[in-house]
Amino acid sequence: MNTEVPAIRLRGLHKAFGATTAVESVDLDIAPGEFFSMLGPSGSGKTTVLRMIAGFEQPTAGTVELFGKDVTKSAPFDRDVNTVFQDYALFPHMSVLDNVAYGLRVRGISKKERHAKAREALDKVRLADFGERKPSQLSGGQRQRVALARATVVEPKVLLLDEPLGALDLKLREQMQVELKEIQRDLGITFIFVTHDQEEALTLSDRIAVFNEGKIEQLGSPSDVYDHPVSPFVASFVGTSNMFSDEISQKLLGKPGQHSIRPEKLEVAHANEKLEGDQSADGTIADVIYVGSGTRLIVDLDAGMRVTVLEQNDQSYVADDERGARVRVGWRASDVISLGGSK
């Protein structure tokens, strides 16, 4: 991967709006054909990075390279990059077909040819019969697909997606995730996907950059980021984690520093039962929450912290649990994630 020219190369990217720094010294290489996600809470700088790649914002410092070519100062219309906007930004006065054909129209392609290509693109997103409609006559999911067709019909080398699924309901979102992945495989181009939804990022991406306060906190594959978070922020933002402070770690794990463990890696048994894990702690059940596929137990450990345990519903314990019951929580030492020195 390192031998080829990256699709996007960011070096020392920095963006300040007045006194506030939105993005701070971001270095990033994104490979051709990669599905790359930028994940972070709102205000973490991920969208600003995307907008600098698209050319809507000028970086305060640093460079943006597109396939080895410096485009830092280029206008958006001079970059081989297209964007699917969060609000879709479809032109309300144009038909769906004209919307999709817009990029071809401004390139001076004849009406016949651009309409043929636009129809083809609409066909790919299964909207072949909707060309004559206005965007206002479409549902959210359909508009989303039109935006996708409009951005891909001009054959960009990189497609930028700014929280494109944010406005859709859960069912549609899951369906669109599958479609996005398929489209990306078909086109074989780089997708850069901005989201605050960690599950979406984990499902779709080849690699994820976790943003926090304008910086990349961790860069890696979904399993890297989920199983080996490098900081308390990543551990708590990506999925849920039980965080052990330095003090608790010394009590329960017998070593200093911050640690975390995923709720699904914990198991619960009655105080006198045998556990599979090699470490354990006693506590009292504070709450039992049924979540469909499993049950979430909130346990107050005697060591002085509260942990969340996720039990699959086929597991034995669940049937007779109750609030106030004394339990033992166990885990494998190998599932404990070290988050570095004490803070």
Binding site: P76, F77, V106, V154
Partner: protein
């Protein structure tokens, strides 16, 4: 939780919440009265008066139906000339105002930061706080042969246009400019930035973006602005009195017929001309589709 006690206000609210028609009646009674009695009836009376006549001997109004006034107004050379002049002035004012308002409104809505935008909105509105007459007389002084315009233009060989049609166009353009800027500003403001970005992203350079995306979206707002400048210019007679020299507009003819000539029916007939023109203008505008989203 104890319920609120049954006061008169509460009983009233209970009654209103279960009687939507009474609610609606209370809401629109006052505006409906205003529109119906004060506005529509006055307009109808004007229309009716145009078909009456004045006894030239006694000066009293004769209420028998006649088309004489209408025929006079349509065929009289004076009325034709003045109508053409008035429409010409109104069109010129509208074109000038739109040409000035478009860049200002675009700058206010899309380029300026919040602070500058607020300042500009105030600057645009501020002339409206000053009296119409003061502004017209200020322009009379600017345009006079010893005025500041002459002083500024003389070194480069230019001259003030003096009082006349040109001066009227300049002054009216100034007077109605805020009414054109504000709707166009609101129109630009409603175009999301992402719309401009999307066009640029897809390869549209500035000019293409303006023509294919921005202009169609603000078109209704531009039309709204032109309705203001066009109709206000059509009805004006004070500015032309102050800076127009000997030129007359339709308003002047109405004025002299109501006053000096004591011929209210003829004045009403003349007043129908701008009404007909505005209707024609609106019909034309409607065909462009600009009023569809009103």
């Amino acid at each position: 939780m104890p319920r609120p006690r049954g006061t008169a206000a509460r009983k009233g609210s209970v009654f209103l919440s279960s009687h939507p028609r009474v609610r609606l009646a209370l809401l629109i009674a006052a505006p409906l009265f205003w529109l119906g009695v004060v506005y529509i009836i006055a307009l109808v009376l004007l229309l009716v008066t145009a078909f009456w006549s004045v006894d030239s001997f006694t000066g009293e109004i004769n209420q028998t139906l006649t088309f004489d006034n209408i025929i006079t107004v349509i065929t009289g050379a004076l009325y034709q000339t003045v109508t053409l002049r008035t429409v010409g002035i109104a069109l010129a004012v509208t074109v000038i105002d739109v040409a000035i308002a478009l860049p200002i409104a675009f700058f206010m809505a899309k380029v300026a930061n919040n602070r500058t935008r607020r300042l500009l909105v105030i600057a645009v509105l501020m002339p409206l706080w000053a009296s119409y007459l003061v502004k017209a007389y200020a322009w009379r002084s600017v345009l006079s042969s010893e005025g500041i315009l002459e002083w500024m233009l003389a070194p480069i060989g230019g001259h003030t246009p003096g009082y006349g049609v040109t001066a009227t166009i300049i002054t009216l353009s100034y007077l109605w400019l805020p009414y054109v800027i504000l709707p166009i500003f609101a129109g630009f403001d409603r175009v999301p930035d992402s719309m401009l970005e999307a066009s640029s992203d897809l390869g549209g350079k500035t000019w293409r973006t303006l023509r294919l995306v921005v202009l169609p979206l603000v078109w209704p707002a531009i039309i709204a602005g032109t309705i203001f400048s066009f109709s206000l210019s059509l009805g004006d007679y004070i500015t032309v009195n102050i800076v127009g020299g000997a030129s007359q507009m339709l308003g002047n003819l109405v004025y002299t017929n109501v006053g000096a000539a004591n011929n209210l029916p003829l004045a009403a007939a003349i007043a129908l001309i701008p009404i007909v023109i505005i209707f024609g203008y609106l019909a034309l505008v409607r065909r462009t589709g600009a009023l569809d989203n009103l």
